[in-house]
Symmetry: C2
Subunit: 351 residues, 2 copies
Amino acid sequence: MILSDDIMKKKITLKQIARELDVSISTVSKSLRNSLEIGEETRLKVQAFAKFYHYKPNNIALSLKNRKTKTIGIIIPEIVHHFFSTVINGVEQIANENGYSVIICLSDDSFDKEVLNMEMLANGSIDGFIMSLSKETQQKKDFHHIIEVINQGMPVVMFDRVTDDIQCDKVIIDDELAAYEAVKSLIDKGRKKIALVTTVDYVSVGKLRTDGYTKALLNNGLTFDDNLIIKIENVDSCEIKISKLLEDKAIDAVFAVNELFAVTIIKIANKMGLKIPEDLAVIAFTDGIISKYSTPTITTVTQNGIEMGNVAAKILIERLESEEEELEENQEEIYKTVVIETHLIERESTN
Amino acid sequence: MILSDDIMKKKITLKQIARELDVSISTVSKSLRNSLEIGEETRLKVQAFAKFYHYKPNNIALSLKNRKTKTIGIIIPEIVHHFFSTVINGVEQIANENGYSVIICLSDDSFDKEVLNMEMLANGSIDGFIMSLSKETQQKKDFHHIIEVINQGMPVVMFDRVTDDIQCDKVIIDDELAAYEAVKSLIDKGRKKIALVTTVDYVSVGKLRTDGYTKALLNNGLTFDDNLIIKIENVDSCEIKISKLLEDKAIDAVFAVNELFAVTIIKIANKMGLKIPEDLAVIAFTDGIISKYSTPTITTVTQNGIEMGNVAAKILIERLESEEEELEENQEEIYKTVVIETHLIERESTN
DNA sequence: CTGAAAGCGCTTACAG
DNA sequence: CTGAAAGCGCTTACAG
């Protein structure tokens, strides 16, 4: 056995094995794929040699040859966000089970970064996308980058922050229904004056949750009062708005569209001497780490990111693997929208 | 202009452009790279055509040709973990600025998954690694997969959970010093009986933080008492251990090696009627989202994940780009270990 | 049973 | 000024 330092070091290629063993590259390739075309003696010799030198085929070369990369691109607005990390986890699980890697890009809620990242990945690096829209993209309603990718034949699965303007597979929760049920649960507990703390309008899910809130009030004999709704642009500078809300209106419950808002409300309420949940019940959307460890712990609507990630990955992979046999003619794509179940986790902030 | 649906759809290649324009592939390639070798007329014609069809070179082909992928692989134990997400963010920033993508794999704190993921990425998919060891890897002290990758000439930068057994670039904080200072700050405030709540031993950072705790006590005239240290394997089943600690010993301060432990301690203390910080001061390692929103808010040691990510990415990219000119002979690699500054964020849980 | 050739999509040194 | 050839690392249909 030749065993110079040099050979031990660098990655070995088929070509080098072929030269070393004095056979052709094809023979080496076939031997390693255990083709019966090759005589047993040669096959075993090649395999032993390859094993000894830790030969592993080069992914890039395989990708080029096969015209698929076996990797999934994920584009999300923000990774420092429990819900999104959770989705990534879900995607990773399924991807790994099916021999796919995952490449992640962050849009930082910026339209330009989203476009840039998509173009970068679309140029051959991945087989398909799983994505959630950036705030700015939702605001501008400019989806040309996504449409282009889809037109090129690359499948896209959108989750959570999706848009009706694009035809593709989607994984969402029923934001409106979930909000409805959350607010309904407050009403069932006898709360009469329920405020809504939400985001600015262009975030799709914010709007849907507001609709659910409104319907819950109206369908259950409460009056809708625009003054009970506040829209927050930035969590770090919302204290005045919230205190004013809590002072003026004798509110007995708040529905917050995310847990950051909820915990902020609780802190302000505490300062103002309000008891939670006695004086003020609080429910939040998005079950994350904060709700679980806040004092009091916060009742939330779960979003089940793992499940969303799992489903998104399954849909994407299925589409990727089925594409192969599909005839090109079959243009009539049938896209599906999967709605993931949500439910309420009751904790201390309601009773 | 030919503009059939078909052409609009699929990605276009040099070959197709060449055929369409009746020139050679080389000419197209050179034109698009703006080579002065090509006559202006041809050059402009090719460029216009390519632009019209949104031609973008195929990353995979470029990677194969250039033998570098312009992508960085990150392997971390867990993504649903504020500190690690933060590091990813830091890496992403620098990577994007330098035209690199980032591919992320999770080890789930499992040795096998770490090995698998590394092997997968090492087969040509990336140019170098940024990684933090899984718990299991630290426990087994089996680093063959990492050594192999390094021997193949692929640079590895480790951060946070590192090991002395491997020679490579590292980005860490001074866990021992930071722990020392945290505990010292408690002593300075007059606390006399300070407990330590930490992880099981094999996690490298856990050990270092314990050392810092011990030294702080001994150097400042307090006695070290083994009974004041508890080791937690699993946060979800530690309540009894902690209550026993708090009951028996008349402890007046706790240093927790992460914020999850800290918030758990606070909740249990509250139940037992202990006032924080009056009866019990609490400091945590790892400044995350929980400490900021807990009630009371928790004093923490910042770990500055963004900065760690930035530095790790810079070191890796620098090494990747310098490798090119370097002569192969230059075997004497000089690895560096960068220590990121930490500091204490004082919040309500201490006074 | 083994190997030469073509090809995945690109670049570049070399001819002409 | 343009193009044919070789090559990155692999696979596979086709000859022999």
